[in-house]
Symmetry: C2
Subunit: 458 residues, 2 copies
């Protein structure tokens, strides 16, 4: 596919790099890449690496048997049961960031919602400052042009107290590179791929292969296109800097048959996730999947869809799961209540993924022999020793009986989640940050804002 | 476990059969079973068999790579959004039976709700008549004593037009045998096991091993107890009639840590399901799992919990999944709306489990080559040929955008499901049944009712 039909690369510097590495480039910007060059890229990309956070306890491993859970990224709208749906603001961004920071099961942060009240040329400054002052987990940086990414990297160095050499020696942030399916890499995405590789930061290369729209209607065809496009992106990264951290991204889903609109949490997407895991393991690279849904509200549909999709990701062996918490309405809204419900789901996965202890003591042969038929295990030593930590204790999923539940107001899980996020925000305390670092960040944002920020390139 | 500590068998005929087969029986009714006897039972139990329905198109295979989906069984209450929660009635039983009959993805029927308005000594007559007049799928028969089961078998023979020899030659119904964990088999359950084996009908032997209550708090311990009890039941079945159809049932879940009440759809239950699948495959028998939840209402929690549990069952390789549709409130209610939501889930599983076609045509290499970068696949021949059947089309999961959804009343999935079940019931037509068979069934029910029905033994 890449050798015969190729990938269109809109950025001149991208085409130049491909040509220098031995790919053929024609006058229509089409880059044709030999299997050999792709093979070299796959060979030089790291199998496993660490993302380093401001707080070393928040460092995460990408690849191998690790799973990194990231919150929802990118919705233009925010929604909650009190205020309804509205354009996302910096306040929403910060509140959702506080939620991401507050739950250990959310391992890194992301662009939880678009702060539409901040002009695009200044937005990266505000979001990066928020990452560094409200959270100590690894941040996401949007690839919206060279100037914005340069600013963000500079702020990360300030926030983490690093020299440029120190910054390039480790991986401190991540971005998502979406190809313009079919078979096109646009300017900001190519810029981002190159810039993240040059600075040795993580790029997750994710084709948006929607079967029946930008990809073939057949799932196998959509996967072929996904694989080809991801490999093209990974190759550009490795040409730029062999060994730069890169993740094989898979986002294949399908359109709705009636409307042609994207659908998420579908059985086809789960099937594609299982296949994507196999494709990623075939090339030996870490892979990224998602926890997503189509539902417009945090109802039963949202629960079934999100859990089904997450099962495809988690049991399919994904190493990095984006949109784990807060995704609603096909990604058009970040939901406060859904965030809490999804945290519950993620915590259940953490419990599910802890190994089943089958030591002799846990097999309980003696305890079983002790309890006579018709008896019970309440109160015996074997139970008392383990009871407090034996089972997962839910945050928002109710365990009341029907009568207790009715007396408490017959609240749905979403309504209970509403109370939880408010409490978490009320209790929130930002992680410690030296005053002089905060001051230096403020000075940087002030200076760059006065200089006009940086444009979003397209 | 079974050889050293044994299983208490309350039924004298059960103990006698075990003793005749070589097990030791003491004065406390404790039956100790050698590994050799258990091994013989495992060897004689069939690996795979067919359940025969009144309509041969509804026959189902149990075992191997087949999955049989059964609706919720046993809740005392019925619940829906219009009428709220109330004691189940025969009308509810029949309506839920109509729903079970109406969706192809529900393969067999079950005791969808307890018809509490029918006295217990007559209940089996009414439920069995309903199975035979409203549905043509394989029915469930409760093991509540010899007289009731004898009546039900007789009615099945009438309904299916079979002689006694013909009835015994195939498998026409199923029951669930729950052990009284820990390590006890009570009278009606032992009676049922023997009677179903004698008549060559299916018994699903399911210990109710709730970790932290009737089973050890450690999951490994609960699984040890589950395995021992299931093997004891399977052994009694095979002693009675070698080759009688039997299924290894797994229902291990855990109590809630705060209340001690049963919890369902927990991560521990999913882990236990995966382990149970391994245990069943270790002994080579078909295994039964469940799709269940704790939630009191068909909300997001119900969706997450049910889907998580079903994933444990389905991806764990279960051959028979009980409570697939309609289970709510830890099994205390059968929900009309949840039934529809679960049917959606089951249909998504059917789609997920259909193999991914990776033929050259489906790989779409030519179609991808045809579409230029930045283009789309709408309208091309490869799409048009496949579009109508390419993707699963949901029954109740919405795909409207937010504006359309708001204009349509901002309904939750449960509210939309309410309209669906009403429409299905309004459209329902029972499968054809000869008038003389219906008359003979009515005569039988009339006669046996006049004779006082049959008691529920305990």
């Amino acid at each position: 596919m890449l050798a015969d039909n190729g990938m269109k690369v809109l950025l001149e510097d991208g085409r130049r790099r491909f040509a220098e590495a031995g790919a053929s480039v024609d006058e229509d910007f089409m880059v044709r890449i030999d299997p050999e060059l792709v093979g070299q890229a796959i060979a030089s990309a790291p199998r496993q690496f660490e993302l380093v956070a401001r707080n070393p306890e928040r460092n995460v491993t990408v690849g191998g048997r690790s799973v990194v859970l990231a919150p929802v990224g990118g919705p233009p709208h925010a929604i909650d049961l009190d205020r309804g749906r509205r354009a996302g603001t910096l306040e929403d961004f910060c509140d959702l960031l506080r939620l991401s920071q507050s739950f250990d099961v959310i391992h890194v942060t992301s662009q939880q919602v678009e702060p539409q009240d901040v002009p695009v040329h200044l937005r990266h400054l505000e979001t990066t400052r928020s990452y560094l002052t409200l959270a100590d987990k690894v941040p996401f940086i949007y690839s919206r042009g060279k100037g914005q990414v340069t600013d963000a990297f500079e702020m990360l160095r300030i926030g983490l107290g690093l020299t440029e050499d120190e910054f390039v020696a480790h991986h401190y942030c991540y971005t998502v590179i979406n190809t313009n399916s079919p078979r096109q890499l646009d300017i900001p995405m190519a810029l981002g791929l190159i810039q993240f590789a040059e600075m040795n930061q993580l790029a997750i290369v994710t084709p948006f292969t929607l079967a029946g729209a930008m990809a073939p209607v057949s799932l196998a065809g959509a996967l072929v296109l996904q694989h080809a496009e991801a490999l093209a992106g990974i190759t550009l990264s490795q040409i730029t800097r062999p060994g730069a951290p890169v993740v094989y991204g898979a986002f294949t889903s399908n359109v709705d048959m009636r409307s042609g609109a994207p659908a998420f949490g579908t059985p086809e997407a789960v099937k594609a996730a299982f296949a994507s895991g196999q494709l990623a393991r075939y090339i030996g690279l870490p892979w990224r999947s998602s926890g997503v849904c189509t539902s417009n509200t945090p109802d039963a549909q949202a629960g079934y869809e999100t859990m089904m999709n997450m099962m495809g990701a988690a049991l399919g062996g994904a190493n990095f799961i984006l949109h784990t918490a807060g995704w609603l309405e096909s990604g058009l809204s970040a939901s406060y209540e859904k965030f809490i419900l999804d945290v519950e789901m993620a915590q259940m996965f953490a419990e599910l993924f802890s190994p089943l202890d089958s030591s002799p003591e846990e097999m309980a042969i003696e305890a079983i022999a002790t309890i006579q038929p018709g008896g019970h295990f309440f109160g015996i030593e074997h139970t008392l020793e383990r009871y407090e930590k034996a089972f997962y204790e839910p945050v928002v999923f109710g365990r009341q009986n029907f009568g207790q539940w009715e007396e408490a107001g017959s609240l749905t899980a979403a309504q209970r989640a509403n109370a939880v996020w408010k409490q978490v925000l009320a209790d929130f305390e930002p992680p410690p940050l030296d005053d002089w670092i905060r001051q230096e960040l403020d000075d940087f944002v002030g200076r760059r804002s006065a200089e006009g920020g940086a444009p979003s390139e397209s």
